[in-house]
């Protein structure tokens, strides 16, 4: 390292990219190299995706609650797949596959990480943009193309695939004889996900290089805001995980179109036809997929950890408890996340010995997660809580993360998983941690950073109503799923015919009403977004009296982020409850304190 810096002083670092502020709509808002625009583009994509995924779930829930009734309006939108609004078993599974795929990839992997991260991270490290703006722009457009390819599956003759977002082989590999949508629909799915991987890898490249190399003077790694740490850790997890998913997709594609047999064993008779493949291993797909799939869920949640850890001190007016422990725990979680993938495969037919090997780190990973939760609780204790909407969603995050995390305790034990695998208990668990906690992280980030991104404040009254109804709605929707699971109610069933599990219909109906109520409550959020964007009160530079560098510049920031000045950092991000010229906090770019702070 010393020799490098020695030669660098002789040859000072040169600016790689001189970006001139673009003119014209296309260069400014479409093919923009500016990380702030790219971040908003990702958030926009996430918004479109989440609305799509939510509508799909409404159709599914309605059908589950009223299996014999046609779903209103659907017959008009999808006359070929759902004539007269009748949801066929295959259409249900197709909706479910697309719901899962869109939500996991295009909402939870984009918005919290690429969306907020792209906008905020360069600001928080004091840089003028990401390290590779062209790659950054490419990463968004590649992701957008992936979305288009996926959505195209709705418009092909047989429709989208029905093999779930997990696309297990051989169902996903043998082609259209396996079922409706398993022809070109499934192929489009595989191609879409492969393209998505590339977009993510380009994004990770930028996050890592920017965090390591573009920090402004005084911004040591120890002084990085916790959200930047979280995005940095997420980008490393993503780099490795998506680098494995891409090969998996390539192999699956080859099995589908090139006659190879990576995942298809011999002797399969599908739709009365003996398959020409032989020798492949369905378990190989599962291993490759879950090696990606488990870290993926941490990609979905770790940015939420960062967002909560950034917002909590600001609303509590109190330093975050144990920041070094916080970061250490996040690193531990990131590392352990690569050792647990087999817990999705306890009953898969892999060696039962491996089950124990995977179960232990799965249980151990709860320890750093528990510590982080306790650190949040310890931060809230004795604080001067300012309950802004962003703050409420952080508190809600703590609540739902506890709920979702604890249900994982059951599933991480193979002997219990013998019963609960494949039931609604699993559905409840992952919805609580991903569909609720990670979403709360996105909401918190939105309410917190909207003023910085758009220069206007969101409406707090609407925000509080949004939170209240959403908080009640998520518990009403997802808590009962635990009970369905304990009863043995199987997931991924398109309906429960009269002679099986019909008794569970009353819970399913309750859940459906709760889900529709929850969906309706999101209208408040949409209205608030739109109204505030157009007519919201002008936002000051630092409405939340927060310490990190993004708040030291204007709302929204100028093109080069800091108006030609490179901020110099003299403080960490945790200086809350500290007397100083500003009151009870010190911003990172404030000059060093001359006299010791009176606490």
């Amino acid at each position: 390292m010393d020799t490098v810096s020695a030669s660098l002083t002789e040859h000072p670092p040169v600016a790689a990219h001189h970006l001139v502020e673009p003119e014209g709509f296309i260069r400014k808002y479409v093919f923009s190299l500016d990380h702030k625009v790219i971040g908003k583009q990702y958030l926009g994509l996430g918004l479109v995706a989440v609305l799509t995924g939510m509508v799909l779930s409404w159709i599914m829930r309605y059908h589950l609650a009223f299996p014999d009734k046609p779903v209103p309006l659907i017959g008009l939108i999808a006359p070929t797949f759902a004539a007269g609004g009748i949801i066929t078993p295959e259409f249900y599974l197709q909706l479910m596959t697309m719901h899962g795929t869109i939500m996991v990839f295009f909402v939870l992997t984009t918005a919290p990480f690429a969306g907020f991260g792209n906008f905020i991270l360069p600001l928080q490290v004091g840089a003028e943009d990401m390290a590779f703006p062209r790659f950054n722009m490419m990463s968004f457009w590649v992701t957008f193309v992936a979305f288009l390819v996926l959505v195209a599956a709705f418009f092909v003759p047989d429709g989208p695939p029905l093999s779930g977002w997990t696309a297990y082989a051989p169902l996903s590999a043998v082609g259209k004889s396996a079922g409706p949508g398993q022809g070109i629909g499934q192929t489009l799915w595989v191609i879409s996900i492969a393209i998505f991987c590339i977009g993510q890898l380009l994004g990770s490249l930028n996050f890592i290089a920017t965090t390591l190399d573009l920090r402004t003077k005084g911004m040591t790694l120890a002084r990085l805001p916790y959200s930047t740490w979280a995005w940095f850790i997420t980008s490393i997890i993503g780099l490795i995980a998506f680098a494995v998913l891409l090969p998996a997709c390539v192999l699956l594609l080859l099995d589908r179109v090139a006659g190879t047999s990576f995942f298809i064993p011999a002797g399969l008779v599908v739709s009365d036809a003996l398959q020409p493949h032989s020798g492949g291993s369905p378990l190989l797909w599962q291993h490759l997929f879950w090696f990606f799939g488990h870290p993926e869920v941490y990609i979905a949640i770790v940015p939420g950890f960062g967002i909560v850890s950034t917002i909590l001190p600001a609303i509590c007016r109190k330093p975050h408890l144990g920041p070094r422990v916080l970061i250490a725990c996040q690193l531990a979680i990131a590392g352990l996340s690569y050792m647990v993938w087999g817990h999705h495969m306890f009953l898969s037919g892999m060696s039962p010995m491996s089950a124990t090997l995977f179960s232990v780190p799965t249980l151990i990973i709860t320890i750093p997660a528990a510590i982080i939760t306790l650190l949040w609780l310890g931060t809230i204790y004795g604080s001067k809580l300012r309950l802004t909407t962003a703050g409420l969603f952080c508190l809600g995050f703590v609540s739902v993360f506890v709920t979702g995390g604890l249900s994982g305790f059951f599933l991480s034990q193979p002997s219990i998983d013998t019963y609960l695998h494949g039931t609604y208990f699993v559905v409840s668990h992952f919805h609580f941690v991903m569909g609720v906690a990670a979403m709360f992280g996105i909401f918190a980030g939105t309410y917190f950073w909207f003023p910085k991104m758009f220069g206007r404040m969101m409406n707090e009254a609407l925000g509080k109503w949004h939170f209240a109804l959403t908080f009640l709605g998520v518990y009403a929707t997802f808590m009962p799923m635990h009970w369905l699971g304990l009863e043995g109610n199987v997931r991924r069933y398109s309906s429960f015919p009269a002679d099986y599990m019909h008794g569970s219909l009353v819970l399913h109906r309750f859940i459906t009403f709760a889900a529709l109520f929850l969906g309706a409550a999101q209208l408040i959020f949409l209205v608030n977004l739109l109204w505030s964007r157009l007519r919201g009160p002008v936002a000051p530079d630092n409405p939340w009296e927060s310490t990190s560098l993004e708040w030291s510049t204007t709302s929204p920031p100028p093109f080069d982020n800091f108006g030609g000045v490179h901020p110099v950092v003299s403080h960490g991000p945790n200086e809350y409850g500290v007397a100083g010229p500003r009151g009870d906090y010190i911003m990172q770019s404030d000059p060093p304190l001359v006299a010791p702070a009176v606490s």
Partner: protein, 197 residues
């Protein structure tokens, strides 16, 4: 208004990160290969076309030529290639050897194609056996990444053309890192293919 991104070592960090991702993906392919071989007795071994070995030499030579261009031309050896300001003559020399590297890269690709032709002439295609599937797959994916490397070399060439300053040298260093990695990766794949396929 304008802004400038001062990457210092960001370009190299980016390349190392990319290398990390590529290593991970080939680790995935390798483990898939190991598992696939163990899951069924239908693995047919075949001998690799001899041109593959000559091709490997070409790639190694191209790496050598690139290093020559980067660090030996015009000045004392400097690990990062920050040679002192080059005279016009030396710049031309540097550009020449860079072009040779690119040409050798294309020769390598042509050689890979010939290797494929040689195999298909023997009746060994993608789906013939899992071993051949992996052969075509691994060589194709490597070639795909190599093409990216060629693009990067062309970019470095253009940077040097327009402004042979420290920035261009930085780019060249980062691109060279990637190109050498392509050779190292190929060496690994050759060993794997020779031993397993």
């Amino acid at each position: 208004m304008q802004k400038s991104i001062v990457p210092s070592s960001a370009t190299r960090t980016g390349v190392w990160t990319g290398i990390g991702a590529i290593i991970m993906s080939f680790a995935a392919y390798t483990s898939a290969m190991v598992v696939r071989q163990g899951s069924s007795p239908d693995w047919l071994h075949f001998t690799l076309p001899p041109i593959l070995y000559w091709n490997s030499l070409i790639l190694v030579v191209s790496s050598g030529v690139l290093e020559l261009a980067r660090t030996r031309v015009g000045g004392p050896f400097d690990r990062l290639g920050y040679a002192n300001a080059l005279s016009v003559e030396h710049l031309r020399e540097r550009l020449f050897w860079l072009r040779v590297t690119i040409a050798l890269g294309f020769v390598f690709l042509a050689g890979q194609y010939l290797a494929w032709r040689s195999l298909s002439a023997r009746g060994v295609f993608v789906a013939t056996s899992p071993s051949s599937s992996f052969f075509y797959l691994l060589t194709a994916v490597h070639a795909f990444h190599l093409i990216g490397g060629l693009g990067a070399l062309v970019y470095a060439l253009r940077c040097l053309h327009t402004d042979d300053g420290p920035r261009a040298v930085q780019v060249l260093g980062a691109v060279a890192l990637y190109w050498h990695f392509m050779a190292v990766l190929w060496a690994y794949l050759l060993v794997v293919l020779a031993m397993w396929v």
